[in-house]
């Protein structure tokens, strides 16, 4: 057992007092406060929080157990998490994990005898362009990203650094920007689109402009944004809420992280316009707990915007007010699913809800809610300022405008690229990313929940409809590139691990199927007779019968690999 000073009740009380009376919705922030201060959340803390927030102790325990960044017992004072998802795997993450463990004389999952370090293997940290990546938590100090992972810096307690790697064909969201810090409010300029909306446009006119642009959600589901806003605006019940989905946890996806890190004001302006349009006065930005740098910069930007009168009470004298609250996730991919995300804000285990009802009528706290992806909201100021037709100058009739793609793996310059929809995948890989390193073998489109393409398919145009036509997906814009040195069975094994780790366990097909799928993917090199049919049946069952999008796509990459490379799957 690790030697740990016991938490001082008086300080626990003080933490609890800061949240007292707010009820269950304050549970995640309160648990974060305890976790950061003490390194774990023990029985005394749960007792105190149970009193302060009127939440049963068993429920709090269940919430701690759901989120992988919360611990119910002491760990090492420093927790080092090394990502072994596909992009980091290509960049030598296994080796790095091994070296780190060697240095500390422990195995993954263990704590050094002096209680100083715990090492964990983890899934995608959203730092794929700087692979291999690590996330470190230090008791009393919080989280730090190391991308690329630097064992000496971590052990010396030095801070991590990373800058964005960006490229832009259309120069709307990404253009000549500092990449190692956030654009300040002075550099961003006035919130002109918000000013225009508040002074010249009725909420319905704002929505009409978004509808005219043809903008669809950039979080993966591609739902028309204007339609979502108009449903919510008209939904009975008050208050209405806006939620920004900044949980970005799809392996290979890191575009939202870059937007948050370098252009936070663009998001805030889009968020405020959305709130005005749908009649909301409270907004939440739910950001994954693995993004400390983005969180810090976002919070700073909110403070700047509030000071300048763009957020807060009576914005620009218009009578419209908006409170923006940042909520940190705590390690759960499923909380990117919109209804699971609401549950997390409400202080519960992040279980997806049955739909319908949909968030537009029954969202956060059961109220009408717009939930949009970071990138979706970042498109809004431009459309308000310059109109739907401006946005439609790019893309196709069905896939309008521009899109960010996050490219990782075997290209010369992994990073986030802004493209007009409709350019070919070849153009992205060869022109924007400087070409494939080595001989191209496969591209995984849309992340772990996506599908594989073969080299002969990379002339496909990047639009929702073109990709759908070849049985693939643009998804959230993740593009993972594998050259011919890669054993695709190893990639599949990592994908299987990811879904097994991230299934919430609510419904049986995915709770059981992700485990069985992982086991079979682990033995692809030496399969049991019947494994191919097992994978096919598990895949069909998860795809057709799971409760939410996680289970419905947990076999997508495997099933596409079975179609593309049947030889990898002996009967």
């Amino acid at each position: 057992m690790v030697d740990q000073p016991s938490p001082e009740p008086v300080t626990l009380e003080r933490i609890a007092a800061g949240f007292a009376g707010r009820g269950r919705e304050a549970l995640l922030p309160a648990l974060w406060a305890v976790q950061t201060a003490y390194g774990y959340i023990g029985p005394e803390a749960v007792q105190v929080l149970s009193q302060a927030l009127s939440v049963p102790e068993a429920d709090i325990y269940g919430v701690i157990g759901f989120y992988s960044m919360f611990y119910d017992r002491p760990t090492g004072r420093t927790i080092i998490r090394v990502c072994t998802s596909p992009s980091c795997g290509l960049a030598g993450a296994d080796r790095a994990l091994h070296d780190l463990c060697d240095r500390l004389g422990i195995a993954p999952g263990e704590t050094t005898p002096d209680g100083q370090y715990t090492v964990e293997q983890t899934t995608c940290l959203g730092l794929c362009e700087h692979a291999p990546a690590a996330l470190v938590s230090r008791q009393g100090a919080g989280e730090q990203q190391y991308a690329p992972l630097d064992i000496d810096a971590i052990l010396a307690g030095q801070p991590g650094h990373h800058a964005a790697v960006i490229g832009s064909m259309t120069r709307v969201l990404l253009r000549d920007l500092p990449t190692d810090r956030a654009q300040t409010l002075a550099e961003y300029g006035e919130y002109t689109a918000l000013q225009r909306a508040l002074s010249d446009l009725m909420p319905e006119e704002v929505i009409a402009k978004i509808e005219a642009s043809g903008l669809v959600g950039r979080g993966g589901a591609a739902f028309p944004t204007g339609l979502k806003w108009s449903f919510t605006r008209r939904a009975p019940g008050a208050p209405h809420y806006v939620v920004c989905n900044a949980d970005e946890s799809e392996p290979g996806t890191f575009k939202d992280r870059v937007l948050l890190e370098i252009r936070p004001h663009l998001l805030l302006e889009g968020l405020a316009i959305c709130a005005y349009a749908i009649g909301a006065e409270q907004a939440y930005i739910f950001i994954r707990g693995e993004y400390p740098l983005a969180t810090e910069r976002l919070q700073q930007a909110i403070a700047e915007a509030e000071a300048a009168g763009y957020l807060g009470e009576n914005i620009l004298g218009s009578g419209f007010s908006l409170r923006v609250e940042v909520r940190r996730g705590a390690g759960a991919y499923i909380c990117g699913e919109e209804t699971a995300l609401f549950e997390a804000i409400e202080g519960k285990r992040g279980y997806p809800r049955i739909k319908p009802p949909f968030p537009t009528t029954h969202g956060l706290f059961g109220k009408p809610t717009v939930i949009n992806n970071v990138e979706t909201l970042c498109k809004v100021p431009g459309i308000i300022n310059r109109g739907g037709r401006w946005f439609r100058q790019w893309g196709t009739d069905l896939s309008t405008g521009i899109k960010l793609v996050a490219v990782s793996g075997h290209v010369r310059r992994p990073g986030v690229y802004e493209i007009p929809l409709g350019v070919t995948l070849r153009h992205v890989l060869e022109e924007l990313c400087g070409g494939v390193v080595g001989e191209l073998q496969a591209v995984l489109m849309g992340g772990a929940a996506g599908t594989f393409l073969k080299p002969e398919e990379i002339d496909v145009r990047l639009t929702f409809e073109d990709l759908r036509a070849i049985g693939s997906t643009l998804g959230s814009g993740a593009i993972m590139v594998f050259n011919d040195t890669v054993d695709l069975r190893d990639v599949l094994r990592r994908i299987g691990e990811f879904f097994q780790h991230e299934s919430c366990g609510k419904c049986y097909p995915c709770q059981l199927g992700t485990q069985r799928q992982k086991e079979i993917l682990e033995r692809l090199a030496a399969p049991l007779p019947g494994d191919r049919q097992r994978l096919a049946d598990i895949g069909q069952t998860m795809t057709e019968s799971s409760l939410c999008g996680l289970g419905q796509t947990a076999a997508a990459a495997v099933l596409s690999a079975m179609r593309q490379w049947p030889e990898l799957f002996p009967a």
Partner: protein, 239 residues
């Protein structure tokens, strides 16, 4: 918005049926003698749509839908046992059987036979294993038999007792029912109402006396062995 019609007419396995609006497909099917298998559904608990054994094919949609939740709508064409449906049900049952001890779950045993579930389908699959918990005078908890139907948690909470002794820990395949910090039942808020035991479909929760008799103990021996497990103690401190 228009008032919803008070009845709806749909087709289930080729039979036309008219039911009150808001009837679930499960209820409508049962009303015409079509049995759809269920595990998690129970009259005493809010439907959560967990087990997905009740999935049916509606209008040949991309996804199958849980009959215990989805309300009937006019003109729906429902197939309750086509190939897609049977593949899902059989695979779910085979996966469940490979993870959990279903030997004392008679209804599920019937489904295993009915859907031709192969008991050896996942030969090297990890099982969910837990020590049998004998920590109170009233019932034992053998989570090797637990299918995670949530009924016990639900009746202990908002669906009946408002006691909140039980919760779910971890995620995915590893998720399981427990108390706060895994404390023994007598140290939890449990009032030993027995509701959870009553709704458990698999005998994971079983009255102590029944369990003791199975172990070959006499009623006196069982009572003796349970002494001291009744009192609520001060919560222990977990390291």
């Amino acid at each position: 918005m228009a008032e919803p019609a008070s009845t709806v007419t749909l087709t289930i396995d080729g039979q036309s049926v008219t039911v009150p609006a808001n009837t679930t497909i499960l209820e409508a099917a049962r009303s015409i003698g079509i049995d759809i298998p269920t595990i998690c559904a129970h009259d005493a608990t809010t439907p959560r749509g967990l087990c997905r054994l009740c999935v049916v094919d509606i209008n040949r949609g991309r996804l199958l839908q849980p009959a215990c939740i989805v309300p009937c709508q006019d003109g729906m064409v429902v197939e309750t046992a086509n190939d897609r449906v049977r593949t899902s049900r059989r695979t779910i049952l085979e996966m469940l059987n490979s993870a959990v001890d279903l030997s004392q779950a008679p209804a599920i045993q019937r489904y295993l036979a009915e859907y031709g579930a192969d008991p050896q389908r996942f030969p090297e699959g990890r099982r969910r294993e837990h020590p049998v918990l004998d920590d109170n005078a009233f019932y034992i908890r053998d989570y090797n038999k637990c299918v995670m139907c949530w009924r016990c948690v639900q009746v202990c909470a908002e669906d009946a007792q408002y006691i909140f002794a039980l919760s779910i820990d971890a995620r995915g395949f590893n998720s399981h029912i427990t108390t706060a910090f895994d404390i023994p039942m007598p140290e939890s808020t449990c009032v030993f109402c027995g509701q959870c035991v009553g709704v458990c479909p698999t005998n994971a929760l079983k009255p102590k006396i029944e369990w003791g008799l199975e172990q070959g103990l006499s009623p006196d021996q069982i009572r003796e062995a349970s002494r001291g497990l009744r009192r609520r103690q001060k919560p222990i401190r977990v390291e």
